[in-house]
Each structure stands twice: as C-alpha cells, then as structure tokens.
C-alpha cells in the first residue's frame, strides 16, 4: 500500500440557505484547498466529487460542479452519488495505482431548495418503503425508540449529546447550530417525532468541502505535517431497515477494524451522527469510553451539509493533526438510512 496523506483542505460555513449556486460554493472552496497544498489545479492527477442530483433538483448537476475543478484542458475525474468521504475513498484507491501522486476531492450539497423528507424517502426500496414516504426523521425516531426499549439509552442521554455538540460548535466558525443549552431545558421541548426532539435532529444545511491528497514524499513536500491515512474502509448492511438491529452498527465496527483501528488511544474522533442517538450507537460500535474526544467541531448536529458532512469529519480530524494538536484520529462517514453504510478513516501525524 502507498502512504497517502491529506495535505490541503477547505470548507464553507454551513448555512440554512446559500443564495449562490452549488458551483459558486465550490469554486472558492476548491481554490483554497489547492492553495493550502501549494498546488496548481493543472498538477492534480485525479479528481473525484460527491454530490446528489436529487438534492439539487437538476439532472446532471454534478457535471456543473466539476467546473469548480477546472475541467479544461480535459482532466481525469470521477463522481460518486455519495458523501464526499466516498469520493475520497475512490481517490485513495486511485492513488494506490502508483502512477500519479496527487488527487482533488470535494463534496457539496444544498438541501435548502428541496424538502429533505421527500427526497430521502426515495432512497428506500421502491416496493414497500418509498411509497409510504418514510423519511429519515421517522426512521431515526424508530431507531431511537429501539435504543430506549433495549435499555441502552435514555432521552436524557440524547439531549446530553446535543448539548455537548452545540457547546463544542461554539469555537467552530463553520458550524450552524451552536451555543450553550441545558439538558433540562431541551428535555422540556416538544417531540418532533417521539422520542426525538428538535435538538436530536441535524439542521438543514447548504455547504461544501474540498480535500487535496498526496502520496509518499510528495505529501511531505506539500505539507509541513501531513495527516496520513493509515487505514480507510467502508462496509454496508442490508438495505431494509426492518432486517437490522437498529441499536447497533456492526458495519462501523468492521470498517474500523479493517481500517486498522485496534482500540488504541485516539486524540480526536469525528462521527457523522446526524441524529443524537446515533452518536451513542457509534461510540459503542467503536468501543469508545466516556472520556473520548468526540466531535470537537460540534459534529453533524451542528452542521449537516448532506454530501459534504462525512468529508468534513475527515477534514476536522486532518486539520487537528496537521496543526500538531492531535497525533492520531478517527473520522467516520455514513450513507443510506439510519447508519446503513459506514466508512472509517484512520489518520495519523508523523
């Protein structure tokens, strides 16, 4: 395996509504990520993007997004209809071929024009669940109820996750939901979908993120302290949520093991827990103790630009390693409904 590192990154602030087009969000973001790596776009060996045309509401929207990377003269590129973390996975695999040594990755999404509850219901099987219009919040409510019924968590536990996320997000200029709140005050709020309250849900966000990868010595040339990808793996569970134990995430456990996570100390952990109960499930799946430094950025409850959320987790870990604030970290991304598909990236400084 070739050693590949994150050497450049940038992200937009997450906002409820960006008036600019998705490409306009990406143009400065990609430029900043390249500038941080001291690279010209023409030096990039491979480009991969993650976005969702259903979210944008336009066929081939992902083609326009490519304009942010500068596709003339023609470039080698690919796209995944997935979170940008999976675009990074593809770029990482591509770099393993050994014939190129840099890659550009980006993820972007504007959830503001759509009704997310309508869009994401289409992600479910077209026979039983999609026609019912089962939306992510309802499924997350079923998952939360399963956790309560199993005696694995309480509604207070959920609220504590939200309070910690919002508190951590205060120092994150890119976060959307931040501030200090009390658990008791949050628990006095009404349910959105019992047993979930508003604080258990992610915000609706517009945003974009970009990452530059480099291989071997090239990474050391471009970055004073590269964040090395020590392992990267993703695993998927059965599509039908009714056939899974929603209180556990065996695919996260397996992805972490395959990515080389051995239970050793982690300075920083960023989890794509888009609903507060999911942080508890992921903590258990990864065997994290109560004192673990989870989501110092505020996580997905503080900013959730879908299709960028997972790649932002990788950036949040990588930038802490690059700055010297952390030596070893774990980033997690998720796709599908209620933690169906999970990716784990182990990052380390030298």
């Amino acid at each position: 395996m070739s050693d590949v590192a994150v050497v450049g990154w940038a992200q937009t602030p997450s906002v409820r509504l960006a008036r600019e087009s998705e490409v306009q969000l990406l143009v400065p973001t990609v430029a900043q990520a390249l500038a941080r790596a001291n690279l010209d776009r023409r030096e990039i060996g491979f480009t991969c993007a993650g976005s969702c045309d259903y979210l944008t509401g336009g066929p081939f929207a992902f083609v326009s997004n490519l304009e942010a990377a500068g596709a003339w003269p023609p470039i080698a590129e690919s796209h995944v209809e997935m979170d940008g973390a999976w675009a990074m996975y593809e770029a990482w695999v591509r770099l393993q071929h050994g014939d190129i040594d840099t890659a550009l990755v980006f993820g972007s999404g504007k959830s503001s024009p759509s009704q997310p509850a309508e869009v994401w219901a289409q992600q479910l099987d077209p026979y039983y669940l999609a026609p019912l219009g089962v939306d992510p919040v309802s499924l997350a409510g079923i998952q939360a109820r399963a956790l309560l019924d199993a005696g694995k968590a309480t509604e207070r536990d959920f609220a504590e996750v939200a309070v910690r996320s919002r508190h951590n997000a205060v120092d994150n200029p890119n976060a959307q939901v931040k501030g200090d709140a009390s658990v008791d005050a949050l628990l006095a709020e009404p349910y959105v979908r019992a047993p979930l309250r508003k604080h258990d849900l992610p915000p609706i966000s517009d945003g974009a993120v970009a990452v530059v990868l480099a291989r071997g010595d090239r990474a050391r040339q471009l970055c004073e302290r590269p964040a090395w990808i020590r392992g990267l793996d993703h695993r998927i569970e059965v599509h039908q949520p009714g056939m899974r134990d929603l209180t556990a995430s065996p695919s996260t456990t397996l992805a972490a093991r395959k990515a080389g996570y051995d239970g050793g100390p982690l300075d920083v952990i960023e989890l794509s827990a888009t609903f507060s109960p999911q942080e508890l499930i992921l903590r258990e799946a990864l065997g994290l103790d109560a004192g673990a430094n989870v989501n110092p950025s505020g996580g997905a409850l503080a900013a959730n630009p879908v299709m960028a959320t997972g790649l932002i987790r990788i950036v949040e870990v990588a930038q802490r390693i690059a700055s010297g604030a952390a030596d070893r970290g774990l980033a997690h991304a998720t796709g599908g409904q209620v933690l169906q598909h999970n990716l784990v990236c182990m990052l380390e400084g030298e």
Partner: protein, 180 residues
C-alpha cells in the same frame, strides 16, 4: 426450470418532489436586464470569454467573476446545433406537435443558450450556421418565469423564439467549437 408462465407484476410509482428557491443574485440581475430588453453575461477578466448568463466564475480559467465583469451581448446570433423533437406523451409534456430545440450562440457571447425555439422557417430548413435574431415578447408580457437556477438557457418568458435574419450563414469555423 418450470414451463409455467411467470406472472409479471407491475406497480406504478409516481414521484413528486418539490423544490423552491430564489434565483441566484446573478440570475436576478440577468432577468432584470432581460425584462429591460438587454442580454447580459460575465466576461472573464483572464481569458475574455463571455458567458451568458454569468455563472459567477469562468469555467475555463476557474476565476471568480462578479457584476463588475458584466457585459451586454447582442440579441442576434447563430444556430450552432438543434433537434426537432417529436413529443411523446410522458407525464408533464405539454407539446403535441414536433418542435425545435436549438442552441443559439449570441453575437458577443462564448456560450450558447440552449432550448430555443426557431420560427419563420420550415423545420427541414433549419441548419447549423443559420443566422437568427430574438423575437422579444412585448415588455408588459415579460417575466422571469422560464429562467431557473438549474436551467439550460431557456428565456421563453422573455424571448418567444428566434427567427432568421436573412444574412448569409456564419462561417463554420467561427462556431464549430460550440457544436454539442
């Protein structure tokens, strides 16, 4: 394998997704100018190419553009490519007769407006290189309805169609790179 005839089950699943948004600030200015009878775009400060409507960046140079880079282009141009579409009755299709879907390269622009109707000439005589001019709606009937953030260039709520100018065809070399 059994010889029994297998039953084919068919279910209909009509999906409706709602999207609501304002035009981007650049497209708002574009529509205001159109209603005023002017067609504007952004001129790249680096390569000089003019994109109509403006994108907020030059896709060739990947440099940002703003309203300071706004320029006006002509309402005359050249048909670069076209299709005569025979409509099939799919959900939402309002056309019943064969119609034109043409790309027009306006004079002074380096990007085409897609999805334009061409009138005043039989369908079988429309060709690449045909010189055309805009048929504007009366000012009081213009609106921004046809312009969207995810459009391919339709301005049908302002310009009904393009019609031949009668000029000789444009030299192919001058529009060749815009043929899609």
């Amino acid at each position: 394998m059994s010889d029994a005839k297998k039953e084919t089950l068919v279910m209909e699943h009509l999906v409706s997704l709602r999207y609501e948004e304002e035009l981007t600030p650049i497209l708002e200015r574009y529509v205001d100018a159109l209603i005023d009878g002017r067609i504007v775009g952004h001129k790249c400060p680096q390569c000089g190419r003019v994109f109509v409507p403006g994108k907020g960046y030059c896709p060739m140079c990947v440099v940002e553009t703003t309203e300071r880079d706004e320029v006006e282009v002509a309402d005359t141009g050249t048909v670069t490519g076209f299709t005569i579409i025979t409509p099939v009755a799919y959900y939402g299709q309002e056309e019943t007769e064969p119609f034109v879907y043409a790309s027009v390269l306006l004079d002074g622009a380096d990007s085409t407006l897609g999805g334009q109707d061409v009138v005043g000439i039989p369908h079988d005589q429309i060709h690449s290189g045909l010189r055309v001019r805009a048929v504007w709606r009366p000012k009081e009937k213009r609106s921004g309805n046809a312009v969207t953030n995810r459009g391919w260039g339709s301005v049908a709520s302002v310009i009904d169609a393009f019609e031949p100018t009668g000029e000789p065809d444009m030299d192919r070399a001058k529009f060749e790179e815009h043929i899609f």
